[in-house]
């Protein structure tokens, strides 16, 4: 069995409760950090670990912590981003739902490193039962003396609360999340200033993903160096992967980075192979925003090397022949999936979730959705296919936050790798009238019609 550091205790009966969590070594990292380490020692260990942000961007966590402004004398905050909303991603929910104290332990240790005395977990409003689970777990932690004034007699005070959103993907963007935590619409802020200087209520703030923070207790209990030995090169450690789509065993898996994509999809330990033994057609490896890969670029890179579950290997070949690890939202498609329909589905998501602040995104996502719908329902023209390319290229890079890019990339990749499917929709409108067209007759069987 591969090394597990996040899910190793998840199957222990009752691990959701404080007592069982504590009996199994829980909160030891708080004791160790507060009693034997300085805040900077903790930051140094996290830096040495090579841990990269698990929300999608992959920015080194320790480095992000080191940017926090400790000189201004303003109060500092740690905010956990539990707004998990990227289609294909459901790993943070799994952690919080089943082992909520792991995140709370990580929040305490990380807040200590940052010198934050008031921290929040911002959870999406739809995870309401998880919000309540966390509220109860936080109460348990207060009662046991892990939160509040002068924790373990160390002189360190921390108040931790959970805050809920109300249905807005954009609030996963860290400055929109901060706005939302201030009781406002989730409109991303222009950076700089970065949250490390001016975040929540204008105070220095670090925003980290649930999985990132949940790794901190292990790093403190072992060492940054030990963590950096897990995984492969700059893809240090383990990663939670949310696996969904046409596979035998959808679910959340913890992998040591560096295993092959082939092993992840086909071994019984993970996805268990393709559902109904149908052929693999496409893969979105890191959540809906990342480029979709066609079958021939999934197990091997364009250079013929094994494709690995690492930041580097999944992005090998750039956007031409690669993709991204992103948030680890791993969506597998078999031959019955329609890439046009799926791209329209994603475009509808982004059009719905654009905050409306920047014109290229507000207007562009709506255009993408409408044009894709036209093509998917057999009302499109060949010019529409070029129009899609034009629209997406005018969104990318022209917005305050990355939602614009996130909306553009899946469209660009679908056109790059699956253009023939778009052409088929234009050429044979009658055949795509039924939304399950490729379920009934997979594209492979009708592909030859395009060049007739």
């Amino acid at each position: 069995m591969a090394t597990k550091i996040l899910l190793d205790k998840i199957d222990i009966p009752g691990i959701k409760s404080y007592e069982v969590y504590r009996q199994n070594g829980g909160y030891a990292s708080v004791e160790k950090a507060l009693k034997t380490m300085t805040p900077d020692d903790v930051t140094e260990q996290v830096k040495a670990s090579g841990l990269r942000g698990r929300g999608g961007a992959g920015f080194p966590v320790g480095l992000k912590w080191s940017f926090i402004d400790k000189k201004s004398g303003k109060p500092r905050h740690l905010v956990c981003n539990a707004d998990e909303s990227e289609p294909g991603t459901f790993k943070d929910r799994y952690l919080m739902e089943h082992i909520p104290h792991l995140l709370i332990e990580g929040m305490i240790t990380a807040s200590y490193a940052l010198g934050a005395n008031l921290s929040y977990i911002y959870i999406r409003g739809e995870y309401m039962w998880v919000f309540k689970t966390l509220e109860r777990a936080i109460k348990e932690a207060y009662a046991a003396g892990w939160l509040g004034k002068n924790i373990l007699g160390s002189g360190f005070d921390l108040d931790l609360h959970v805050h809920c959103g109300a249905g807005a993907y954009i609030c996963g963007e860290e400055t929109a999340l901060i706005e939302s935590l201030e009781g406002k619409r989730g409109n991303p802020r222009i950076k700089p200033p970065f949250p490390a200087v001016s975040g929540l209520w204008g105070n220095p703030t670090v925003v980290n993903n649930v999985e990132s923070i949940s790794n901190v207790p292990w790093i403190v209990m072992n060492s940054g160096e030990d963590y950096s030995k897990l995984g492969l090169g700059r893809s240090a450690g383990t990663k939670l992967i949310s696996a969904s789509g046409h596979i035998r065993k959808p679910g959340v898996y913890e992998i040591e980075m560096g295993i092959t994509v082939d092993e992840f999809i086909n071994s019984d330990e993970y996805c268990g192979g393709m559902m109904d033994d149908r052929p693999l057609k496409a893969l979105v490896p890191g959540g809906s925003s990342v480029p979709i890969l066609p079958a021939h670029l999934i197990y091997k890179t364009a250079n013929g090397e094994d494709r690995l579950m690492t930041y580097e290997s999944l992005s090998d070949g750039g956007f031409e022949t690669g993709s991204m690890l992103g948030s680890g939202g791993f969506i597998v498609y078999n031959d019955t999936a329609c890439i046009v329909r799926n791209t329209w589905n994603f475009a509808r998501f982004y059009a719905h979730e654009s905050c409306g602040q920047c014109s290229p995104c507000r207007e562009g996502t709506g255009w993408l959705e409408k044009v894709l719908y036209r093509i998917e329902t057999g009302q499109g023209t060949m010019d529409d296919i070029d129009l899609l390319w034009n629209i997406q290229s005018n969104i990318e890079g022209n917005t305050i936050c990355p939602l614009g890019d996130a909306a553009a990339w899946p469209v660009a990749a679908a056109l790059r790798h699956f253009r023939e499917e778009f052409e088929y929709h234009v050429l044979y409108p009658e055949k795509v009238k039924d939304r399950n067209h490729f379920v009934k007759e997979p594209f492979e069987n009708v592909k030859h019609l395009i060049n007739k």
Binding site: G88, G183, F346
Partner: protein, 176 residues
């Protein structure tokens, strides 16, 4: 506005006020506005699952902010309802992973069974069906949200069962 047609009871019960005070205690005393999103959830849950303009004004008063600051938030976030919805609101996730595992079929089935269109509410005010965007349950598709909880791995039989359980009052909506 459509909401004008409906009159909503805007009383804040002592229990609700107590919960609001608890939420307010999570933020610095001069940052009451920060409690807006969680407070709106509680207020909506306690008032038949929707927020009239009068009720939003009441929330503004409690948090000592202007009514527009509440309206702009309520209209931005999808979980706040600006008109009465069914007591049991079936929110089907239609995004990709759910989409390729039969979400549209499930939503259509529920609509047919309840005799309404997506976005509609049954005449007795018991049920609404709406299509929503990714709920973060991609591995357990198709699924829907019902109150504070998720109903996952849906089948037509499961939908039948859920509807029956709602009718007989067996479904718990809120995790109190």
């Amino acid at each position: 506005m459509e909401t004008k047609k409906y009159k909503q009871n805007i009383d804040i019960t002592p229990a609700l006020q107590e919960r609001i005070n608890e939420l307010l205690s999570h933020y610095p005393a001069d940052k009451k506005k920060s409690a807006l999103l969680p407070v709106l959830h509680e207020v909506q849950d306690a008032h038949d699952n929707w927020l009239s303009a009068e009720l939003m004004d009441k929330v503004a008063e409690i948090l000592e902010i202007t009514p527009i600051e509440v309206y702009e938030v309520v209209t931005f976030y999808t979980m706040y309802n600006q008109k009465p919805m069914g007591k049991y609101m079936f929110e089907f996730c239609l995004t990709s992973c759910c989409g390729i595992r039969g979400a549209d079929d499930m939503m259509e089935y529920a609509c047919e069974k309840l005799g309404i269109q997506p976005g509609g509410t049954t005449e007795d005010g018991m049920f609404s069906v709406v299509g929503v965007q990714c709920l973060g349950a991609c591995g357990y598709a198709p699924m829907m949200q019902l109150g504070d909880f998720y109903k996952e791995h849906l089948t037509k039989e499961k939908i039948d069962q859920i509807i029956d359980d709602c009718k007989s009052g067996k479904v718990i909506l809120h995790d109190k």
